[in-house]
């Protein structure tokens, strides 16, 4: 029998169903792999006792013929999701040893469907970052390395722990969140599949809030099919989140084999950036050819406000973050640093608890919302956001079913490589992904090949609102054409 951690989620599901192995065996294999992979720093908390108890329950339900759709499937959970009684920190020192007395809706749905929790995964502090280097628990190391090099690379961020753990076979799939690219960029950097569904598809209840009008949960997995299986369990209306959409959840897995025959795929000319590496341009071209060969029609589309998405994002997201993070005051939970009065206590607590990137964003947000600047910054950015969304609406109205673009402007970069750069340089990582959040659309990143250094590159498909199915169908075409991404050799074990 092959190593149980090498299976895809769908293959593991079949194996469990056919009783080739038990949920307990599958969970033990993953716990053992996690123990050997501490060098990657993907998990910030392992929960082996909980995992084995959940796996034993799964084995009991399988034996009783009561198996759920994800019965016995071991998953990792980004530390942004509140897990009842299990430390949840958003990888910030300010949450200290916070143990939520409740479970996030997304994770509750996964456990209700029979999934097993292996532990909590590392991420950029409060999901603010594109390299997982802002985490209070230290950076995550990408399981991929350049050919013939042992330089440590970042896994991307903010869901860097999720992407690294999935790529390194430390779980069969993971939850993640995406505010400006935090699912798709790390998926592209690690050769995994990540989908950010339409805003409102998954409940945000119980997920540590960053920018509420942009945040969405989604899965990272090793195949398109696996990501479809996971999203089916994660999605759905939740009365506890007033922005969650009251729409039926389609059978995402059924959409995977639908193909793209007769679909029109748009290529947005504004995504062709100056100085874009030739490899990215070539991969994008190849992606279009694959889709064409599978029966799709390729057309050029125009999204004229693309270049303004990133600057508008860096007003809207920090503004919302400054409000959301006002709750960390040292009173109700988390860290408290005493002061001579309550204001000094707030100021000292927040100075000690937040990291540099988080402070920077709170301060930018505070500034753009402050009296005298609100109209010039925040209001203008929200108007630009309307224009960005209108660009997509016009493209879709012209008959385009989905849009194909690169996922990232480069492959994974080295740990610390951008440490001395201006914060803006790091922000540019999200240039292809952030438009999608600004417009509330679904987007999927699918591995499409390796660059000359042997590192994975991803392509992104952007869909109409609530049409994730087309993304799974087209994503599968790319996966089939590109061939399944070879897993990185386990140098860390």
């Amino acid at each position: 029998m092959t190593d149980l951690t090498d299976l895809s989620l769908a293959e593991a599901r079949e194996g469990l169903k056919a009783r080739r192995f038990s949920a307990t065996e599958l969970t033990r294999a993953h716990l053992a792999a996690m123990e050997k992979a501490e060098a990657l720093n993907a998990y910030v908390l392992a929960t082996p006792d909980k995992a084995l108890a959940m796996a034993a329950e799964s084995d009991r339900r399988i034996a009783a013929g009561e198996a759920g759709p994800l019965e016995g499937i071991p998953l990792g959970v980004k530390d942004l999701f509140a897990t009842e009684g299990v430390r949840t920190t958003a990888c910030s020192a300010i949450l200290d040893d916070f143990r939520p007395p409740y479970e996030s809706t997304v994770t509750r749905q996964l456990w209700c469907d029979g999934a097993v929790m292996l532990g909590k995964l590392n991420n950029d502090e409060f999901a603010m970052g594109s390299s997982n280097e802002t985490s209070a628990f230290g950076p995550v190391v990408n399981p991929w390395r350049r050919n013939g090099s042992d330089t440590k690379l970042v896994p991307g961020g903010s869901s860097g722990g999720s992407a690294a753990a999935v790529a390194a076979r430390l779980c069969l799939g993971a939850t993640a969140t995406d505010t400006g690219g935090s699912i798709r960029q790390p998926a592209a950097f690690t050769g995994t599949v990540g989908i950010k569904p339409t805003y409102g598809r998954c409940s945000r209840w119980g997920i540590v809030a960053f920018a509420s009008s942009l945040d969405q949960a989604g899965p990272i997995a090793r195949t398109v099919r696996d990501s479809a299986i996971l999203l089916s369990s994660m999605a759905g209306h939740d009365p506890k989140d007033t922005t969650s959409a009251d729409l039926p959840v389609p059978d995402f897995e059924a959409a995977v084999t639908r193909g793209v025959k007769g679909l029109r795929i748009g290529i947005p000319k504004e995504y062709r950036l100056d100085g874009m590496p030739a490899e990215i341009e070539a991969l994008w071209q190849k992606g279009a050819e694959w889709l064409k060969a599978a029966g799709a029609e390729i057309v050029e589309v125009s999204l004229p406000h693309t270049k303004y998405a990133l600057p508008a994002y860096y007003i809207v997201a920090p503004a919302e973050a400054s409000s959301n993070l006002a709750r960390y005051d040292g009173v109700r939970y988390g860290l408290r640093v005493p002061g001579k009065d309550i204001v000094e206590m707030y100021e000292k607590t927040r100075a000690a608890g937040f990291g540099r990137e988080v402070k920077r964003r709170i301060m930018i947000g505070t500034y753009v919302l402050s009296a005298g600047y609100y109209d010039a910054y925040y209001l203008r950015a929200q108007k630009v956001r309307t224009l960005i969304k209108r660009d997509f609406e016009q493209a879709y109205a012209s008959g385009v079913d989905a849009i194909l673009a690169p996922a990232t402007p480069s492959s994974a970069f080295g740990l610390g490589e951008k440490a001395d750069a201006s914060p803006v340089e790091m922000y540019l990582n999200d240039v292809f992904t952030v438009t999608v959040n600004m417009a509330g659309l679904p987007g999927i990143a699918v591995p499409a090949g390796l660059d000359a250094q042997g590192l994975p590159l991803g392509l992104q498909l952007i869909g109409r609102p609530f049409d994730e199915e087309t993304l799974f169908a087209a994503g599968q075409v790319i996966e089939d054409a590109a061939g399944r991404m070879a897993l990185p050799e386990a140098w860390w074990a």
Partner: protein, 95 residues
């Protein structure tokens, strides 16, 4: 637009984040780099454009105005750095 040291201190106070004298010039540089970057939004013609208030067209659902949860103050204060008799404890705020 760019911010001076005094403005950095004012923003930090509004955000309730203590900053040291040594941090101020550094923060000033970083904030100005970000403000420089977002300055390009000034080129966009936004005349007559409605600011976005909801990314997906939806009417917010309202639930019945009824108590549906609660009755466990011990759970509410369980994570508090300081509590007493199910109250959060803070430094004195009223003289």
């Amino acid at each position: 637009m760019s911010v001076d040291e005094k403005t950095v201190r004012r923003i930090a106070h509004l955000a309730r984040i203590a900053v040291t004298d040594a941090e101020v010039p550094h923060l000033q540089g970083e904030l100005n780099a970000i403000l420089d970057f977002v300055e390009q939004l000034g080129e966009v013609d936004v005349e007559g454009v409605e600011p976005m208030t909801s990314v997906t067209p939806m009417v917010m659902k309202k639930r019945a105005d009824a108590v549906t949860d609660g009755g466990y103050p011990d759970k509410i204060v369980a994570n508090a750095p300081m509590s007493e008799d199910d109250f959060f404890m803070v430094p004195k705020v009223v003289e």
